[in-house]
């Protein structure tokens, strides 16, 4: 779909406008071919803008919704240290969401509209956050596997062709590495604890492994937008390529943890020099994405509650700002 929109110039444009469109397209194509960056006020194809808006807003929503599975354990963290760490991490997710909303806004979408779409259940976000966090070990598995997969995905996005997106990703990636390490530590400590604790860690890894692999998106032959996104230098590597890399890293790290990955088919293919994994349940992925995951309605409902419960704070801040401004004017 995107590639068709890319070249078409609507017929109702005047010759002058058509000329401007063509010049804009030529300029855009040159920037992309030079692997340079597109900035907000540059001319860009409508489909490029639309693709970015979809991707960046979904990414922002994922960060915001992603606060919930972990915030769930803040009151139950096993120590003050763990509680402080978890709060810092959840605060980071909020920050990441805000960086990304800012980037999306530069494409002409208002933040309020994005928030409305999210709480109306119209917007998508990463399917991973629709799974429940049923034990403390899930905090470890989310940090290690989910944030690990996110980092794998996000590091190449630092070089995305859209300037504001790339800049947001640089900031995010810098902060994300602590997330993965703290998760790894949680699992390592549980793994070296009592047999019950070790079992809890293994159980969490078992449950989060497949969903985290699915975070990279559908297989390449079933990923309709990938090709165009790669042509536009938004995506740098295919879903399967990144997934394979991630599996390779996890194979090494799970040994240090003294745990196992719930996948008997993992192997290194000597011919392709790539890591391969067992089959994933893509029907489950589609179901969760379509809103039929274990926690979808709860996540959106929570988000709406938080937004509505915060309304008086936003209103009070505006009232206070107005009052202060009036005082200043009177003085």
């Amino acid at each position: 779909m995107a590639s068709q929109n890319l070249q078409s110039v609507p017929a109702e444009l005047s010759p002058e406008e058509q000329e401007r469109e063509a010049a804009g397209q030529a300029y855009f194509d040159r920037i992309i071919s030079e692997d340079s960056r597109i900035e907000p006020r540059d001319w860009m194809p409508a489909a490029y803008r639309k693709t970015l808006l979809r991707q960046i807003s979904q990414h922002a929503h994922s960060e915001i919704i992603g606060m919930q599975p972990e915030a769930n354990w803040i009151t139950r963290a096993p120590s003050l240290k763990r509680k402080s760490i978890l709060m810092a991490k959840v605060q980071d997710e909020a920050g990441h969401g805000l960086y990304l909303y800012s980037a999306a806004e530069t494409l002409g979408q208002s933040r309020d509209q994005m928030m409305e779409d999210l709480i109306a259940g119209k917007a998508r976000y990463s399917s991973i956050f629709n799974y429940p966090t049923i034990s403390w070990a899930d905090m470890g598995a989310i940090g290690w596997l989910v944030d690990g997969a996110a980092i794998c995905n996000q590091v190449p996005l630092c070089r995305a062709s859209y300037g504001p997106y790339g800049r947001a990703m640089v900031r995010i990636c810098k902060e994300e590495s602590f997330h993965q390490r703290q998760g790894f530590e949680i699992l390592l400590e549980l793994s070296n604890g009592t047999p019950a604790q070790k079992q809890m860690a293994q159980d969490a890894v078992n449950r989060w492994y497949a969903p985290s692999l699915m975070m990279f998106g559908p297989p390449d032959d079933d990923s309709p937008n990938s090709e165009q996104s790669m042509a536009w230098n938004i995506k740098r590597f295919s879903n399967d390529e990144l997934r394979s890399r991630f599996v390779g890293m996890m194979v090494e790290q799970v040994r240090v943890l003294g745990l196992t990955l719930p996948d008997k088919d993992i192997r290194f293919n000597e011919e392709t020099k790539k890591w391969e994994h067992g089959p994933l349940d893509w029907n489950e992925f589609k179901e969760v994405l379509a809103g039929r995951g274990p926690c979808n309605s709860q996540r959106v409902e929570r988000r709406r509650e938080a937004h509505e419960n915060g309304a008086w704070v936003r209103e009070a801040a505006v009232a206070y700002a107005r009052k202060q401004a009036q005082k200043e004017n009177a003085a």
Partner: protein
Amino acid sequence: MAPHGNPEAPASAASEINREAPKVAATNAESTTTARASGPDATSRGAQEETPWSLWEVFVRSSRGLSHVHAGSLHAPDAAMALRNARDLYTRRNEGVSIWVVPAEAISSSDPDSKGSFFESPQGKDYRHATYYTKSEGVKHL
């Protein structure tokens, strides 16, 4: 809460009451035009004067002796809150010793369409760079 039960049951009572509260989002939707973009990147600046939670651009000085550098943007009802939000959003890890916040609509920027003509004057003026002068190569301290 059972250790292995799902502790994620939504709280109910308080939220039911607040459901009645007016949605700020609805009023804010008026305030942010879809055409507006952020600060130096803005496509149509100054479209809205009295925006309740308007856009601010944040500049952070990372350490003494360095200039403030653009870090990003945020929404706030006034300068005081913009500064607080900027502190929470952009300096969670000691990234700064000083912050500026500027209303996005107060920033004027050059027109991206006139890049060529606006910036062409330095072109062909290589003699403004030290590298233009090659005859002194090998001469010390020059």
